[in-house]
Each structure stands twice: as structure tokens, then as C-alpha cells.
């Protein structure tokens, strides 16, 4: 059954599952070293203000309190650096690790209490006298744009940066276009909500002057270097250890204020300090995402051929520019065209600071938003021109012979900001999706009122960028018993990394998977590494493993040759043996042999695919039931169909949560109103039972030796647009056009009421 060389492509059970299901997982909250102290963070209850006083005497004198740390105890307060997609003009807006003079969002850390018990630390936090002179909240991007209240007095504007996506000549194209339509859309603030909140355990050893931080995810090597520098330690004095992680989705594992505060606290008290975020904190402290407002215009010929898209997108960044810099604002303008051939593009993005939780990347960053804007525009245009929405898309997908094809140029920026779509048979995959979904059959239901509910169907397409982050390392070591230890810098976030990379390693060495031991994530394992983000760990870590395996095989051939007294090319390696003719030696004879290799890559992978949905809308309640959701995608090469399927379905559910349920709401004072999971609604097991997905390995990626493409995000990207279009199609008889997410029942109901009112009153119709 476990024949060598057949692991890639087979739906192996996840190696990690047995341990996790048996309750043997170790998460940060499970780590309880001796003399553990607990940290609780006091956070600003005010959106924008100047700190007048932080009185800590009462808190300090509470029995069991070891320390209270504020900006004063830290001294020179470090500023968190940008990890990727930074721009010089964004520098002044970076976040200090603790608020000393000003607070700029509800949830900003103001003090850290360290105590012998969690509840004592919480009691003490309540005793801190925090006095803040309130300043006007900058609760929306519109208020921010007025620049009447500046969040940073040392700057002249709340506008952090702008992007200009350009292709062809949009002005010309629009001047001569046969059809145009201009629309406003918005995507609401929501974010990743991993099952496990963040957490860190910092252990400071005063004798050895060493810091060990457990709970690292995503980018341990970068974070190690940052925290070392902030603490004025050598990187070699600091290790970041990866333990089990309950999900990341792009938001977890970036360098947050706590990533400094907790190690600092450990050194300050000279011991072990653990912080585990509670859900209320999580909702105000972890990166938010997605909030943007688009004003876009589409142009095409009467026959439906797209000729251009132009307009602007305003982005609510929140209070600071965090580690992701401007990844999301760049992505949203770059990806409006998605997989479609739109020859003329001029879209500007404006990123404003507001006094709300800072934003960052979340699964499909900028792409979910861009897809919503683009797909809604396409359906509006198709409907206006009387063309079937599927036909309209098939006509405009980029043909295979025009790939690779660059996306719109990011004007004035160097090549690290640019990208091109690699390869793919976009039309083939879309037609397959339509067939699996039963488009022709279901089309008959379009707009029909059946048992009191309106039915609608829609289709949309996505491209998903993968394999960012320039390199990844892998090291292979032959152990005494003849097993091979494989260590990679990629991190596991629950995506089945251990299984997938073991499959790749086993095939590359032609040996049984049981004899591969995979280690990942921690800074102790390899000399350098990147981590897991941008759908990269399979492609990058997997490719690094291929290179390391190649090198290990070469090394064993050399060693075998000198042992057997033959030429290296007469030696073969498989099944844990080194062969020469009829002679063989077990791997164990070569114990200690070790290689480390790095895979480097600057080109991204682009998996792609189609989504289709069938909904029924209840006009009495505004409820939308998802009757069927079908997706087909092409990921280049499938390593493990089972884990891939899980990624796709999980991403779709997350996208449905984004589209229907999840909403981080603020009032006009910048207060966060959704402070628990009773108000921030996540999709649960019973909400969306009808989801299907098929993944293909149709066009291997030309940019890496595996042929694989990142595949963790596509399931989410197209959901907003497809659902918005399905609802519009269902309610076509009333001309309802969803333009703003989320599509909650009150929102749908209101759209229906407005449509009814304006249908009764044609004058109003004209105006709107």
C-alpha cells in the first residue's frame, strides 16, 4: 500500500490528525513551565486621545502581582517594522509596541500586568487608573480624508499612500466605448478568526542570557530578528518555537505589539511569562481586514467584449501601518481584472488611517474585495447588454495562448510590486464548473418565485497568487536508525503541512513515508527560513525539499561509490538503501550525512478556477439560503487531494462567513461594537451544508520544480461576487442590486423595500 514514489497525488490521511484527535496536541495554552507568570494587557478603551496618566500603584500593590509594565518601564519604545510591501511615506505611521503618549484605537496596548494567576492579573488591570484626554475620533475614511484631525501630528495627512494601477489607455477606451456603467461598492470590515486565539510563552534564562519564545507561526525567522533587535540581543540568543497552532489565515503570526511585550516582560521579571489572548481581545487586537469603498466604471463593446475598467478604491487602513505594509491596497487595485482580459485599466487606491484597529492581510487579501467589485460589474454589464453571464465571462477570460500575461502595472514602483499570471486553461476550467454545477438546467430557475422564495444562480472566476517570499530552506539528515529527518522553515497552521511535505520528501527519496521525520517552523531547525503565508508553504517548502533530496542522493552516491569502489553514477538510492549491482547498504550506515538547500523564487504561482452558486431568497425575512455551491479549480499539481479539498471547502465557508455574517462594527466614536462571538457571527456547521469542490492538476506551474501552485485562498476569493450576483439574479424582477457587503437579512430586506419603493415611483428611479 505504501509503495514508494506514489505519495504525491494520493489522498493520504493527515499525519497530524491522530495526535490532535487523541488530545495530544500542544498549544501555547498547554505550556506550563515551572514558576509561570501570567500576562494580561490593559488596552485603550478610547478610540483617539492623549494619555494624561497611567496610575499603576494600586495594581502593583495587589498581592500576586509581579510587575506592571507601561511605556515608562520600557524606556525608548520600539516601533514595529514593516515586513513586506512597505513604502517610505508609510514609515511615520508604524505602530509603537505600547502607547505612551497617544492612543489611536480601542484595543491599543497601554500596560502589561504580570501576576501569579490569570485572574489576579485581570483584577490588577482593572485597578490601573488610566486617564485619557479624548480627541475627535477618526472613525471613517471620509473623516480621515478631511485631514481636520490628524492621527499623527508629526505628519500632514491621514492619507498614508496611494497606488496607481495602469494598463493600456483607459481614457481613450472610455471615450470611445459603446457601453459604460459606473457603480459604487463596499466591502465591510471583518477578519480572520482562527479557532485558537493568539498566545505566547516567553522564557528568559538570566544565566544563559537566552530567550525562548513559544507560539511562533507564519514568519518565525523575521520575528526572531525583530524581537532580538528590539531587546538588543543577538539573533542567536533568541529562539522562536512553533507549537501546535489552531489556524492563522494570514492574520496570526505577524509581529504584533505583544510579540515584543511578552518577551520584554519575561526579561523584566527574570522568568517565564505567558499570555493567551481572549476572544474579546482578539477581536480588537488582531489585524482587521477588508474595509474598502470602490467607485468603479466598466466599459465594453456591445457584443460584450471588455475594453476597460477605471475608478478609485478608498481603503480604511485603521490606526497604523502594520507589518504587511501595503500588500492589501496594492492587491486590490492590481487584481480588479482577475482572470479577465481587460486591455485598459486605470484604478487608483487611497489608503487612509482611521482610529480603528489596524488592518493587515487576511486569506485572499485584496483579492476577495477586488473579485466582489469586478464580478458585480460584469453581471451588471452582462444584464444590461442582454448576454448570459456565463457566456459573457467565457468571452472575456484570458485565452491560454496569451499567458503568461502581466497584470496592470503598479505605476512608479519597482519590479517587486509587479506580477504576471503564469499559465492556465481558464475557459476549460470554467466550462467544467458550469457542467458540474448544472448551469443549463438551473438556468431555468433564474429569478423564479417558488414557494415564496426567489431563486438565482451566478458564476464567477478567480486567480489566486501563491508562493511569495523569496526563498525557503530544507535540511535533510540521516539518523542512526536509517530514518531521514527533514527540517523546513515553513510553518504549520493547521493546513496539513507535515503530511504534504512528508509526501514530497518520501517521493523525492523513494522511501516509505514512515521513515521520514518532518520538523518545521522553529528557528532552531534551519539556518534561515521564511514561514507560511501567501499560499506558499507547499510550493516553497516542497521545492526546497526536492533540492535537498537531490543533494542528499548525490552525497549518498559519492559515499556509496567510495565504499563499493565504483563510480557515483553506478550507485542508486531507494527504499532506504544505497545499491551497487547486487550489493546494498542501509541508510543507517550513512548516519550523520546531512545537506541543507535553499529554493529561491521570484515568480508567483497563479492557481485559478470558477465558482457557481444557487441561492433562494426569502423576501419576508431577507434570509438567503445557499442551495448549492460548486467550485472547480486548477492548482497545477495536486500533492494531496484530501488536504486540498479541505482547504477549498474551508475557504469557501470562510468566504460565506465574510459575505453573509462576519462584521466588525464601530460606532461614530470609534468604539468597537462587536466584542464577542455572540455579535461577531462566524459560520457554523449547520449554516452552509451544500458546498462542493473539484480540484484539477491541469497545467503544472512552470516556475517551480514541483509544478505545484498555492491553493489555500482561491476558495474564498470569488465568494462575495458570486453570492452578490446570485442574489441580484434572484431578485431581478425587482431590480435589486447588492452593492455593499455583508449581505445580511436586514440588508437584503432593505434593498427589496427600496427597490419596491422606486419601482412604484419612477421619478425616484430616474434620480437613483
Amino acid at each position: 500500500m505504501t509503495r514508494s514514489n506514489a505519495y504525491i497525488g494520493s489522498p493520504l490521511d493527515r499525519i497530524e490528525d491522530l495526535r490532535l484527535l487523541a488530545g495530544a496536541g500542544t498549544f501555547v495554552g498547554d505550556l506550563k513551565p515551572d514558576n509561570l507568570l501570567y500576562a494580561v494587557i490593559l488596552r485603550s478603551p478610547i478610540s483617539h486621545g492623549r494619555i494624561r496618566k497611567i496610575g499603576t500603584a494600586a495594581a502593583r500593590s495587589l498581592q500576586g502581582v509581579a510587575a506592571v509594565i507601561t511605556a515608562a518601564e520600557i524606556g525608548e519604545v520600539p516601533i514595529i517594522p514593516v515586513r513586506q510591501h512597505g513604502k517610505p511615506e508609510g514609515e511615520p505611521y508604524r505602530q509603537p509596541v505600547i502607547a505612551g503618549e497617544k492612543v489611536r484605537y480601542v484595543g491599543e496596548p497601554v500596560a502589561v500586568v504580570i501576576a501569579s494567576e490569570q485572574c489576579i492579573a485581570e483584577d490588577a488591570a482593572e485597578l490601573i487608573e488610566l486617564e485619557i484626554d479624548e480627541l475627535p475620533a477618526v472613525a471613517t475614511h471620509e473623516i480621515a480624508a478631511r485631514d481636520q484631525t490628524l492621527l499623527f501630528e508629526n505628519t500632514v495627512t491621514n492619507l498614508a499612500t496611494t497606488f496607481y494601477a495602469r494598463m493600456g489607455d483607459a481614457d481613450m477606451a472610455f471615450a470611445t466605448a459603446e457601453y459604460k456603467r459606473k457603480e459604487k461598492f463596499s466591502v465591510h470590515r471583518h477578519t480572520a478568526s482562527p479557532m485558537e486565539t493568539r498566545g505566547l510563552l516567553a522564557e528568559w534564562n538570566p544565566e544563559l542570557q537566552r530567550m525562548v519564545v513559544s507560539g511562533a507561526t507564519k514568519v518565525p525567522f523575521f520575528n526572531r530578528n525583530v524581537v532580538a533587535e528590539m531587546l538588543r540581543l543577538q539573533p542567536s540568543q533568541v529562539d522562536l518555537i512553533e507549537v501546535d497552532v489552531g489556524g492563522g489565515f494570514g492574520a496570526r503570526g505577524e509581529f504584533y505589539p505583544e510579540d515584543f511585550l511578552i518577551p520584554f516582560a519575561a526579561r523584566y521579571v527574570g522568568g517565564n511569562v505567558r499570555w493567551v489572548e481572549d476572544r474579546r481581545e482578539h477581536l480588537m487586537a488582531m489585524n482587521h481586514a477588508r474595509e474598502m469603498y470602490a467607485d468603479l466604471e466598466i466599459a465594453c463593446r456591445k457584443d460584450g467584449t471588455l475594453v476597460g475598467v477605471r475608478g478609485r478604491i478608498d481603503i480604511d487602513l485603521g490606526a497604523y501601518v502594520r507589518t504587511n505594509g501595503f500588500t492589501t491596497p496594492r492587491n486590490v487595485v492590481q487584481f480588479v481584472s482577475g482572470p479577465y482580459l481587460i486591455p485598459n485599466i486605470a484604478i487608483d487606491a487611497f489608503s487612509y488611517l482611521t482610529s480603528k484597529t489596524p488592518t493587515g492581510t487576511y486569506r485572499g487579501p485584496g483579492r476577495y474585495e477586488a473579485s466582489f467589485f469586478c464580478e458585480r460589474l460584469l453581471d451588471m454589464a452582462a444584464n444590461d447588454l442582454g448576454i448570459d453571464p456565463a457566456e459573457f465571462r467565457l468571452k472575456n477570460l484570458i485565452p491560454e495562448d496569451q499567458l503568461p500575461r502581466p497584470l496592470a502595472t503598479m505605476a512608479g514602483l519597482d519590479r517587486t510590486w509587479q506580477t504576471e499570471l503564469d499559465n492556465g486553461a481558464y475557459g476549460v476550467v470554467m466550462e467544467r464548473c458550469l457542467k458540474e454545477f448544472g448551469w443549463e438546467e438551473k438556468k431555468k430557475l433564474q429569478g423564479q418565485l417558488i414557494d415564496g422564495r426567489y431563486h438565482g444562480i451566478a458564476v464567477g472566476n478567480f486567480v489566486e497568487g501563491g508562493a511569495g517570499g523569496r526563498f525557503e530552506n530544507a535540511r535533510m539528515t540521516i539518523e542512526k536508525g536509517g530514518t531521514v529527518t527533514v527540517a523546513v522553515g515553513s510553518t504549520a497552521l493547521g493546513q496539513g503541512l507535515q503530511t504534504i511535505l512528508s509526501q514530497i520528501a518520501a517521493d523525492a527519496l523513494s522511501m516509505p513515508i514512515e521513515r521520514i521525520r518532518l520538523l518545521h517552523g522553529s528557528t532552531t531547525l534551519v539556518t534561515q527560513g521564511f514561514g507560511s503565508f501567501h499560499s506558499r508553504s507547499t510550493v516553497m517548502g516542497g521545492s526546497a525539499i526536492l533540492l535537498a533530496a537531490e543533494a542528499l542522493v548525490a552525497l549518498l552516491r559519492d559515499k556509496g561509490a567510495s565504499h563499493f569502489g565504483c563510480e557515483p553514477d553506478q550507485v542508486s538510492v531507494s527504499d532506504g538503501y544505497v545499491y551497487y549491482g547486487t550489493k546494498s547498504m542501509e541508510f543507517s550506515a550513512f548516519a550523520g550525512s546531512e545537506v541543507e538547500r535553499q529554493f529561491e523564487n521570484r515568480k508567483l504561482t497563479y492557481s485559478y478556477g470558477s465558482h457557481t452558486a444557487h441561492v433562494a431568497v426569502d423576501p419576508g425575512t431577507g434570509h438567503v439560503e445557499l442551495l448549492d455551491y460548486m467550485t472547480v479549480d486548477d492548482v497545477g499539481r495536486i500533492i494531496n487531494p484530501a488536504t486540498l479539498h479541505g482547504q477549498i471547502l474551508g475557504a469557501i465557508v470562510q468566504g460565506l462567513g465574510s459575505t453573509f455574517l462576519e462584521h466588525l462594527q464601530y460606532d461614530e466614536n470609534g468604539q468597537l461594537l462587536t466584542g464577542s462571538l455572540a455579535d461577531y457571527l462566524l459560520p457554523t456547521a449547520t449554516d452552509f451544508p451544500n458546498i462542493r469542490g473539484i480540484s484539477l492538476g491541469l497545467r503544472p506551474c512552470p516556475n517551480n520544480p514541483l509544478g505545484a501552485k498555492g491553493a489555500g485562498e482561491g476558495g474564498l476569493i470569488a465568494v462575495g461576487g458570486v453570492i452578490g450576483n446570485a442574489i441580484a439574479a434572484a431578485l431581478r424582477s425587482m431590480s435589486v442590486e447588492p452593492r455593499d457587503l455583508p449581505l445580511s437579512p436586514p440588508q437584503i430586506w432593505r434593498l427589496i423595500q427600496q427597490a419596491k419603493a422606486s419601482n412604484h415611483n419612477p421619478k425616484m428611479n430616474e434620480q437613483s
Binding site: 485581570e122 462594527q665 436586514p746
Partner: protein, 289 residues
């Protein structure tokens, strides 16, 4: 989210529980299923230094069915109601309502007394008690009293219960044969608190005219309500889609609808009208044996 250390007491009788409440005053809180209280303590929205668990007080966990109606002890859990084979015939609305309460794990612990005392305006049981004209039996230092549910719920999370009193049971009047009934609730996800809900039942006289119509609403105002105007509209009329729609529209007109982050009052009012109408249609098709 950890509350400060507190004392945990386990009285063995009702009198002892009341005595402990008297003794400790505002420092103490009764604990039943803990499904509302524990989250409030953890969020530090409520605080106390002593928890008095009713778990060992005998006799509070019984469901009694007699010809005088149904009596639910205060420690009867949602799942006890779900599993009771008598209730679907003697108080069918109860079985229907309980299905909408929370999730399996919470239904396994949450109780009748806890729900009444908590007084959440979006809760099913308080609404059912009001709609059915149930009475609540209460014990305190001065003995027992009983209060119609309609007078018990005052504001969101505020009831007529005194701090030193314990809810003993909830009593539903008898359920006649051939009664028509319907229950409709709308929430964002299965198990969530209702955005609005409607409970209806009525009987019909020998001429098929509606008599004793009862229409309850929840999740809509500060307390569960009866929609008197809708009831008036139905009284003496024949069941039919036209009259149902009008009754629903009238019934919600003067309700003081509350808004929250999930929905404004316009939507909630319209939603309630939809649900009342649907519950009436359902009732017309569903009559108890």
C-alpha cells in the same frame, strides 16, 4: 477572561438556599445551569463573591403533568423538555420552542429557572410563559408567592424577582383539545438568540370562528409581549390568509421595537409581522388532537 476567585456553596434545601441568599445579600448569586451567568462573570459584566448552586436542592428538577396543566421545576433543563414524551401533546408549543434554544451543549445545562430569572427579551421560554398566561412560583424568606408571567418581566434582564427569592417552578394552564398553534422564529444562525419570534394559538367555536386568540412576540421589545391588537383583530373571525395578514400588520404597528447592531427597528417590525403571519398560517394547518 477569568473571574476573581469566589466561594461556592451547595445548599441541600430550598430553605437553606433562601437563608444563604438572605445572609450574603448582594455578594451572592444563585447558580442553575450557568449558561448565562458564567459568561457574564467571565466577561466581568456581572460579579459576585459567592455562588449558591441549586443543584442539590431536592424536587426542583421535575416535570409534572396533571389535569391542571404542566409544571416545570426551576432546574428542569432544556433537554429534559426535549426528551419528555408527554409534552408534545399536553403543551406542544413548549416542545417546539425548546428546539430553537441555543445549541446541544447549552441545552444540556440551561434551565427553566435560569432563563426566567435572566429575563432576556429574546429568549423563548419567557415569551412562551407570557403568551400562554403561565404563572411563576417563587419562594422567599416570607414564604411563597406566585406571579403571572406577564407581570414578571420588567425590562431587559430585569424581573420582578427580589434578590432574596428563588424561582421554584413555572406553571402552564391546561391545553385543550383541537387547539391550533404555530411557532416561528428567525435568527441569524441556528441556535442564536431570536431577531424576532412569534407564538400563536387559538381555538375555534362550533361556527369555525376564532376564539381566545393568543399572540406572543419576543426578541422585539424590552420584554416578551402579547400583541393585543392582533388578537382583537382575529377574535370572532374565521381563519384565512387575508385576516392573518391584516392581523399581523395591525399587531406590530404600535410595538415599541428595539434596535441593536444586528437590525434596525424597521426591519424588526416587518420581520415580526412576517413571522406572526406565518405562525398563523401554520396554526391554521396544525391542530392538536
Amino acid at each position: 477572561m477569568k473571574f476573581p476567585p469566589l466561594r461556592y456553596l451547595t445548599p441541600q434545601s430550598l430553605d437553606e438556599a433562601i437563608a444563604l441568599l438572605e445572609q450574603h445579600g448582594a455578594d451572592a448569586k444563585l447558580l442553575s445551569g450557568g449558561q448565562s451567568l458564567m459568561p457574564m462573570l467571565a466577561f466581568r459584566l456581572a460579579s459576585c463573591s459567592i455562588l449558591i448552586d441549586l443543584k442539590f436542592v431536592p424536587g426542583l428538577d421535575r416535570i409534572t403533568v396533571t389535569d391542571r396543566g404542566v409544571e416545570l421545576g426551576s432546574r428542569v433543563r432544556w433537554r429534559d423538555i426535549e426528551h419528555d414524551v408527554r409534552l408534545p401533546t399536553v403543551q406542544p408549543l413548549l416542545s417546539m420552542a425548546v428546539k430553537h434554544i441555543a445549541h446541544y451543549a447549552i441545552r444540556n445545562r440551561g434551565t427553566v429557572g435560569g432563563s426566567l430569572a435572566h429575563g432576556d427579551p429574546a429568549s423563548e421560554l419567557p415569551a412562551l410563559a407570557v403568551a400562554c398566561g403561565a404563572t411563576i412560583a417563587i419562594a422567599g424568606p416570607n414564604g411563597r408567592r406566585s406571579l403571572p408571567a406577564e407581570e414578571f418581566f420588567l425590562f431587559p434582564l430585569i424581573t420582578a424577582l427580589e434578590p432574596n427569592e428563588v424561582i421554584v417552578s413555572l406553571h402552564f394552564p391546561p391545553w385543550p383539545k383541537a387547539r391550533s398553534f404555530g411557532f416561528q422564529e428567525f435568527s441569524r444562525r441556528r441556535g442564536d438568540f431570536a431577531m424576532a419570534g412569534a407564538i400563536v394559538f387559538f381555538d375555534q367555536d362550533k361556527d369555525q370562528n376564532i376564539c381566545s386568540p393568543h399572540i406572543g412576540a419576543f426578541g422585539i421589545a424590552d420584554t416578551p409581549l402579547r400583541l393585543g391588537e392582533a388578537e382583537k383583530f382575529l377574535l370572532g373571525n374565521r381563519a384565512g390568509s387575508r385576516i392573518f395578514e391584516e392581523a399581523a400588520a395591525h399587531g406590530v404597528r404600535n410595538v415599541d421595537v428595539r434596535a441593536d447592531i444586528h437590525a434596525d427597528s424597521d426591519y424588526r417590525r416587518a420581520l415580526l409581522a412576517t413571522l406572526v403571519n406565518r405562525a398563523l398560517v401554520e396554526a391554521a394547518q396544525r391542530t392538536s388532537p
